[in-house]
Symmetry: C2
Subunit: 299 residues, 2 copies
C-alpha cells in the first residue's frame, strides 16, 4: 500500500529487459544485467522529473540461472536501487527458457509538474545531458569480443552502468524550465524524432555542438570497424541521458553543468517536422531515425 503525501502525485512506468533482445547473457555480466534493468526503468522517471521511490520485479529465469548468476544479478540491482533511492515493493518469479526481467517503477512528483514529450514549441532551445554515443561505444566493444581486455575497460562503464540524471530531471521539472523532456534510450535520431512527432514540430541540431563520446584512436585503428563519433552521437542507443527543450526566454537559466552532469545546448525546435543537421560549413542535411532497435532486429 502507498498513499500520497499531501499534494503529491505518482508516476509509473514499466519496462522489459529480455535476454537476446536487450542483453546477451553470454556477454554481459549478471551484475550488469541486474543494474541496467532497474537503471533504464528509472530513466523514465528521471525524464518526467519524478523522484524514484519503489519498484516491482517480475523475474523469469531458466533453472541454471537460479544460483550464482541470480545472486550477482540481484547484487547489481541492489546497487542501482541504492543509487537511485528505490525500494523493492513486490513482483513475482517464474521459470522460463530465457531470462526476462520486467521492472515497474513508481516515482513521486508535485501535481502538474511532470514533464511530457509533447510540450515543445518552435523556437524552444534543445538540450542534452552527458556525452552522446558513450553507451553504444561500450556495446560495440562487447559485440567485438574485446570487452575483457583491460585497456578498453573504462569505455564499458556508460554501457554497463548508466546513470540517469535523476536530480537534474527533478530540478528541471520543479522549476518548470523544460517544455518537453524524454530520456535517450534508442539514440538521438530516433528519440528526437519521437519528441518532434509528439510535439508537432521539427528540430535543427548543430553537428559541432553535439557532446560526442571519445572514440580512442587505437580502437578506430584496430581494424574492427568502429563507427565514428558523429554516427555514435546521432544513432547510438542506451545513453539514458535527458533530451529536453526550454522556451527561449528561459534558456539562459540552464547552466553548463549541474551536480556534475554536463548540459549542452545542441539546437532549437522549428516549425515543420523531422530533424535537420547543420554543419559548420553552412550545409544542412536531414537525419532519419536510425537508432538502436535491439538485438532481435539486427538479425
Amino acid at each position: 500500500m502507498f498513499g500520497s503525501a499531501r499534494g503529491r502525485e505518482w508516476v509509473i512506468s514499466s519496462d522489459a529487459f529480455l535476454e537476446d533482445v536487450h542483453f546477451l547473457a553470454r556477454a554481459h555480466p549478471p551484475e550488469v544485467v541486474g543494474y541496467k534493468a532497474l537503471a533504464r526503468a528509472t530513466s523514465d522517471l528521471a525524464a518526467m522529473g519524478a523522484t524514484p521511490r519503489f519498484f516491482l520485479l517480475n523475474l523469469a529465469l531458466p533453472h541454471e540461472r537460479t544460483g550464482r548468476w541470480l545472486d550477482k544479478c540481484l547484487r547489481g540491482m541492489a546497487k542501482a536501487a541504492r543509487r537511485f533511492g528505490m525500494k523493492l515493493a513486490g513482483g513475482d518469479t517464474a521459470r522460463n527458457r530465457m531470462i526476462a526481467l520486467n521492472l515497474t517503477v513508481l516515482g513521486e512528483i508535485a501535481p502538474g509538474r511532470a514533464v511530457l514529450r509533447l510540450g515543445a514549441r518552435a523556437g524552444d532551445r534543445l538540450f542534452v545531458t552527458g556525452k552522446l554515443g558513450a553507451a553504444q561505444l561500450g556495446l560495440e566493444i562487447v559485440l567485438r569480443g574485446i570487452s575483457r581486455q583491460a585497456r578498453w575497460r573504462k569505455f564499458l562503464a556508460p554501457h554497463y552502468y548508466p546513470v540517469p540524471p535523476v536530480a537534474l530531471g527533478r530540478w528541471l521539472a520543479s522549476r518548470m524550465f523544460a517544455s518537453s523532456m524524454m530520456d535517450l534510450s534508442d539514440g538521438l535520431s530516433t528519440d528526437l524524432t519521437r519528441l518532434c512527432q509528439a510535439s508537432g514540430v521539427g528540430a535543427r541540431i548543430w553537428a559541432d555542438r553535439l557532446p560526442m563520446a571519445d572514440v580512442p584512436r587505437a580502437l578506430r585503428r584496430s581494424g574492427l570497424r568502429f563507427p565514428g563519433p558523429l554516427h555514435l552521437a546521432l544513432h547510438g542507443g542506451e545513453d539514458y541521458q535527458l533530451l529536453f527543450t526550454v522556451p527561449e526566454r528561459l534558456a539562459d537559466r540552464i547552466p553548463d553543468s549541474r551536480d556534475g552532469v554536463k548540459i549542452t545546448k545542441i539546437g532549437e525546435m522549428v516549425r515543420g517536422h523531422g530533424i535537420e543537421l547543420c554543419t559548420p560549413d553552412g550545409k544542412s542535411t536531414r537525419v532519419a531515425p536510425q537508432g538502436w532497435d535491439h538485438f532481435a532486429l539486427r538479425k
Copy 2:
C-alpha cells in the same frame, strides 16, 4: 500521473504470463491469453479488497504473433479491462522468441483497509468463494486435446475466462470482516499452506464442505484418467477465487452468496501449522501442498 483521492491509498501488483510456463500458445486461443493475463493480475487486487483502476502492459512477442494473433489477444485483454473497470496506463513492447505478457495493476482502497494474508488467528473461520477445481478441470480437458469437442466446451470457461470476485473482496475489506485474505491461484493445498505460514497458524478443513467442481461422469469414463473432484478441489490451480478467514464472532455475518458469488465455510484456523483434512467418518489426514506448479515444472 495519478494522485490519490482524499483519504485513499494505492495497492499495486505485477505478474508475468509466459508462453510454455503459464499458457500454451498452440492450445490456448489468443483471446484467452489476453483475458487471463489481466484477470489473474486483477485477482491480486481483489484479494486485498481494492478497486481495480489502471494497468500497464509489457508485451514481448515473436514476429509471427504480431498480426491476427495480437489483435485477438488484445481483444481478450480489453474484455477483461471492461469487466474489471481498468484502464491501460502504459507499458512497452519488444520482440522476443517467446510470448511474454507482464501486467502491472493498480487499485485503490481506503487507508488501512487492505487485507493481507498474515492476519488469521486460531479460531477464525475459513471461507472460499466459487467452486474449487473448476479451472483445473478445464486445463485437464485442454491438455488431453479434447477442448474442441462441443460437449466439453462449457467446462472450459472457468479455465479460459476466470472472474475474480472483485466486488466481494472490496465488501469484505470495507466491512473489516476478513482477518486475512488471498486469491487461490496455485490450488487450495498450496495457497492455504502459504496463508497458514504467513499467519503462524494451522487449518482444519472439512472434506464434505468443500465446494467441488462437477466432473461429468462421461469424462471420468473417457479413459483419459481425469482426477477426481476432491483432488481437483484440493490441488487444482488457477481458480482465482478468494480464500479468507473471519473471526468467529463475525462469521455469521458472511452470507452463503453475494452478487451471485457463492461463499462456503470450509473449516477453521487452529493452533499449530499445516492443513488437516477431516472426513465425515471422523478421520483426519494431513494435506501437503501439491498445487499447480506451472508447465515448466511438470516436465
